[in-house]
C-alpha cells in the first residue's frame, strides 16, 4: 500500500517539489467503463470434433514441442488418435478459422503424429488401481464400444466387451483397408484400452451365444453393434453370382486376404465404402469402374479419397444408374440409364433424373454393390424402439430399457468413426451418471463443447478446469495482425506405382519438425497461449502474470478499461463487458 501524504504546511514540506511517493494509491480502475476479463472460448475445431477432442490444447502442446503432453491431452477424450488421425473425415479442419486466411491446420496429421510419436516410446495408458464401481457390459468392440469401454474403465468400472467376430475393432478392422489404417495402429490403440483392465471376449455373439438374461449381473449395458448389412439396390440380378456387397468384400480383404476376382470389376455407389472397395480392388491388380448416379460434386465420399482413387487408376462414370444386372458370355452385364440432375432433394443435393431411352451396358467380371449399410435389428431386446433403420435413444444414449444404452452406427445416420467414438464417450458418461445417480441433462449442459453435441470428459472429471465459454470463435473475432500466411503441411505419399501394388499406408506420419511447424500455424482460437500481447500493450501495466488457472490476470485496481488487451488478443481469449457500477 503506497503512502499518501498530507502536509500541515510549509514547515513540513520539502524545499522543492520533489516526489516523495508513488501513485499506487490512485486506483485508476475507478475510471473504467468497460471491463476486460480472460475467458477461453470454444475453438471451432473443438466444437466440430464429433469425438470431443480438445484440439487446440493438444496442438499448443505440439507447439511447445511437448509431444507426450499432447498425447496426454488427446487421451483424456479419445483413445483412438492413431485411428482418427488417419481415417477421420476431420470436420475440425473444414471449420478451422485458418481456412479463412490461407489453409486449415492439418489437424488429422498432427493427431496422427502424436499417436505415432508416443507409440514409438511404447507409451501405455496406466491402469488405475482404485476400487471398482461395478460391472458393465459392452456389446461390440468397434469404435463406439471401445471408446465407451475406455472411458468407463477410466471411471473405475469393471468392463467386459463382447465381440461377435473373432477379432476386435469392428468396422475399423473389417471395413477400413489397411492402406488407410494399418492393423498395427488399431492393435496398439485397442491394447492400450485393454491395458486399463478392459476384458474383450471375442466370438461371443448376442442372440447366438449370449442372451440378455446372461447379462443381468452387469449394472449397465452399452450396445454398439454397428451397421453391417449392405443396403439393397432392389434391382434384378442383385442376388446373382459374382455380385458382392462392398462391406463383405472389404471384410474378406481385411480379414482373410484371399479373394478371387475377375479382371474387370464394376462398383456401384459413391460413398466411402465404394471408394474403399475401388482402391482395394485396384491393389489386387484389377481394372475398376465405379458407377455413380449423380455427379462428382454430389459424391458423399471424402474429396481426398476420390482424388487418390482417381490417381490410382479408378475410373468413375458419373450420372449412371444400373437398373438390371444380367449376364452375357460369362460376364456380368449391367444395364444402365444415363441420368441428369434435377431439383434438389431433401439432402440438399440435386436429384438424379433418368434420361429416357438412354440405356447402355457395362460389362464386368464382378459387380460390387456399395450403396450403404443398414442396421440389423433382429437381435435387439424388446423395448428398444427403432425407426427408419436406426435405434432410437435419448440424448444421453439411454434406450427404453433401464440401464441399457446404445450408440455408434446403430443409433445414428452419421456413420463416422469420430461420431462413434463420441457416442461411446457420451454413453460412458451417461452410464456413470445413471449408476451414480447424477442428473445427466445437467451434466451434459456443463460439459458440452461449444453448442454440442460433443462432450468433454475433462470437464466432467475436473469441474475446476479452466472454464470455456460455449461461444465458438469466429474468424472475425481474431486479430490477423499477428499472423503471416504460411503453407499447410503436406504429408508425403508413397509413390503411385508402389501404392497400387500393395496395401501399405499411402501417407506417412509427419516428422517432429513438420509437426511443430504446422502446430505453429494454429491461431489457438479462443484459447490463451500466453503470447503476452495483453501484457506488452497494456498502457497501465495492469496485466499481472500469475500461476493460477489463468496465466495472466487483470489488475482491476488500475485497469482503465481501454480495451487494448481485448482488441490485441490475437485469438479472442479476452472478453469485454460493460462495467457495472
Amino acid at each position: 500500500m503506497s503512502k499518501q501524504f498530507q502536509f500541515k504546511g510549509a514547515s513540513d514540506m520539502p524545499m522543492i517539489p520533489i516526489s516523495l511517493g508513488d501513485m499506487d494509491w490512485n486506483k485508476t480502475g475507478a475510471w473504467r467503463a468497460q471491463r476486460p476479463f480472460y475467458e477461453d472460448k470454444t475453438p471451432p475445431c473443438n466444437a466440430a470434433c464429433p469425438a470431443g477432442n480438445d484440439i487446440v490444447a493438444f496442438i499448443q502442446k505440439i507447439m511447445q514441442e511437448d509431444f507426450e503432453g499432447a498425447w496426454q491431452v488427446i487421451k483424456e477424450e479419445n483413445p483412438f488418435p492413431g485411428v482418427c488421425g488417419r481415417v477421420c473425415f476431420h470436420p475440425c479442419e473444414s471449420k478451422c478459422n485458418r481456412g479463412n486466411y490461407d489453409a486449415p491446420i492439418a489437424i488429422h496429421a498432427l493427431e496422427r503424429f502424436v499417436s505415432d510419436f508416443v507409440a514409438n516410446l511404447n507409451q501405455k495408458i496406466g491402469k488405475s488401481s482404485g476400487p471398482k464401481k461395478g460391472k458393465v457390459a459392452i456389446i461390440g468392440s468397434g469404435p463406439a464400444g471401445m471408446s465407451c469401454a475406455y472411458h468407463l474403465a477410466k471411471l473405475e468400472y469393471e468392463v467386459t466387451v463382447f465381440e461377435s467376430t473373432s477379432s476386435t475393432g469392428g468396422i475399423l478392422r473389417m471395413g477400413i483397408p489397411s492402406y488407410r489404417l494399418p492393423k498395427k495402429v488399431l492393435d496398439r490403440e485397442i491394447s492400450n484400452i485393454e491395458a486399463l483392465g478392459v476384458v474383450i471376449r471375442t466370438g461371443v455373439s448376442l442372440g447366438q451365444h449370449l442372451t440378455y438374461d446372461d447379462l443381468k449381473d452387469y449394472r449397465a449395458i452399452f450396445i454398439a453393434t454397428g451397421a453391417h448389412r449392405s443396403r439393397s439396390l432392389h434391382i434384378p440380378g442383385e442376388k446373382s453370382k459374382r455380385v458382392l456387397s462392398g462391406l463383405d468384400l472389404l471384410k474378406k480383404i481385411n480379414l482373410e486376404r484371399k479373394l478371387k476376382l475377375g479382371d474387370k470389376v464394376a462398383i456401384i455407389g459413391g460413398g466411402n465404402t465404394a471408394i474403399d472397395v475401388a482402391r482395394s480392388v485396384i491393389r489386387l491388380g484389377k481394372k475398376v469402374t465405379l458407377l455413380y448416379r449423380r455427379s462428382r460434386e454430389e459424391m458423399p465420399a471424402f474429396k481426398d479419397e476420390i482424388e487418390e482413387a482417381l490417381e490410382e487408376g479408378v475410373k468413375i462414370r458419373y450420372l449412371v444408374n444400373p437398373i438390371r444386372i444380367g449376364q452375357k458370355d460369362g460376364l456380368k452385364r449391367l444395364e444402365c440409364l444415363r441420368m441428369e440432375l434435377g431439383e434438389k432433394d431433401e439432402s440438399g443435393r440435386r436429384k438424379p433424373v433418368p434420361i429416357s431411352h438412354s440405356n447402355f451396358f457395362v460389362e464386368a467380371d464382378h459387380v460390387i454393390i456399395a450403396a450403404g449399410e443398414e442396421v440389423d435389428v433382429s437381435f435387439l431386446p424388446k423395448g428398444m424402439e427403432n425407426k427408419e433403420g436406426i435405434v432410437l435413444t435419448q440424448r444421453d444414449g439411454s434406450t427404453g430399457i433401464k440401464g441399457v444404452f446404445a450408440g455408434g452406427d446403430l443409433t445414428s445416420m452419421q456413420r463416422t468413426v469420430a461420431h462413434a467414438i463420441g457416442s461411446g464417450k457420451k454413453a460412458a458418461l451417461a452410464m456413470d451418471c445413471y449408476l451414480q445417480g447424477k442428473n445427466m441433462e445437467e451434466t451434459i449442459r456443463r460439459i458440452l463443447i461449444g453448442e454440442g453435441p460433443s462432450l468433454s470428459i475433462l470437464r466432467y472429471l475436473h469441474p475446476e478446469a479452466r472454464p470455456m465459454n460455449s461461444h465458438v470463435v469466429t474468424f472475425e473475432e481474431l486479430n490477423m495482425d499477428y499472423f503471416e500466411p504460411s503453407e499447410r503441411i503436406r504429408e508425403s505419399k508413397a509413390p503411385l506405382k508402389k501404392r497400387v501394388r500393395e496395401f501399405g499406408e499411402v501417407t506417412s506420419t509427419l516428422t517432429e519438425t513438420m509437426a511443430h511447424e504446422e502446430a505453429e500455424r494454429c491461431f489457438s482460437c479462443g484459447t490463451c497461449n500466453e503470447c503476452e500481447n495483453c501484457y506488452v500493450f497494456c498502457p497501465d501495466a495492469s496485466i499481472l502474470k500469475t500461476e493460477n488457472v489463468f496465466s495472466h490476470q487483470v489488475d482491476y485496481d488500475f485497469c482503465k478499461g481501454c480495451g487494448i488487451c481485448f482488441s490485441e488478443c490475437p485469438r479472442g481469449a479476452i472478453s469485454l463487458k460493460e462495467e457495472e457500477r
Binding site: P14, G21, W25, D481, E484, V536, D540
Partner: protein
Amino acid sequence: MRKMEIPLSENLGHGHLACAGCGAAVSMRLTLKALGEKTVMVFPASCWSIVPGFWPYSSFRIPVIHAGFVTGGATASGVRAALDVRGDHESVVTVWAGDGGTFDIGLQALSGAAERNEDFIYICNDNEGYMNTGTQRSSATPLFAWTTTTPVMQPKENPKKDIMAIMADHHIPYAATATIAYPEDLLRKIDKAKRIRGTRFIHLLSPCPPGWRIPSELTIKISRLAVRSRVFPLYEIENGNTYTLQEESHVVPVKEYLKMQGRFSHLSDSEVEVIQKNVERSWERLLKKAEA
C-alpha cells in the same frame, strides 16, 4: 505466432494519469523496459508533465526532471555534464519530448545539442499535435488533419515536418523511427541507441485516442496501420547517411489508416488521394536513400 519476450521491469508504476488507451503510456512502458534502471529522464512540457502525477507523487521509478518546454536538448546536455563530472558515465540520459517540444518550440535546443553531439537519447513522443493543451495543430500534425486550431472547414494545409531528415542532416550517430505496434523492434532500437554514444534520436509515433478521435482499444491497431500504410515507415539512420529501411510485408492503402480516425473523417476521396501520393513520394525518397 511467436511469444513476445520483453523485460519484466516496470519503471512506470501504477496509478498514472494517462488517458485510457494512451499510446504514449505504452511507448513509455516499453521504452523504460529497454532503458533499464540506470536512466535519468528529462521531460520538457508535454502530457508527461502531468501523467506521472501531482506533487508529492510520481509514478516513475527512475529519476526524472521536469523541465521547460523549450529545453529538452539543453537540460539533458546539462544533466549529462553533471553526471560526467560526478564520474557516472553509465547512466543514460534520455529526453522524452512531445512533437511540440521537438518539431516546434524545442527544435532549436535539440538542434544545438545534436550539433554538439551531446551524449543522450532524445525520444520524440509524437502524437501529432498539442494534445495536452486540447489538440491544437503542431508542425507534426499531418496534412488535412482536424485539430482544434485547424477546424474541418479549414483543416491543416501543410504536410508534416520531416523531423527525421532534419536529424539525419545533423549527422548524429543514430536515428530511428519506432512505434508501439512493433514492441520488439522498439525495444531493439532503444537498446541499440543505449549502446551508442553521442546524440541518438528516436521518433516514436504514439496514437492519442482523444486527439485522433479513435476508440481507446484501437491504439495499437492504428499504430500498426501507420506503418503498413507507409504513413510512418520504420527505419534507422546511422551517422546521417546509412539508411536501413524495414519493408512491411502487408502494405495497405493510406485510406485504411485514415478511415479509422475521427480527425480525418472529413476527408474527400481526392484528399485521400493526395495523401496517398505524398506517402508514396516519401517512400520513394526513403528507398533512394536506403539504396544510396
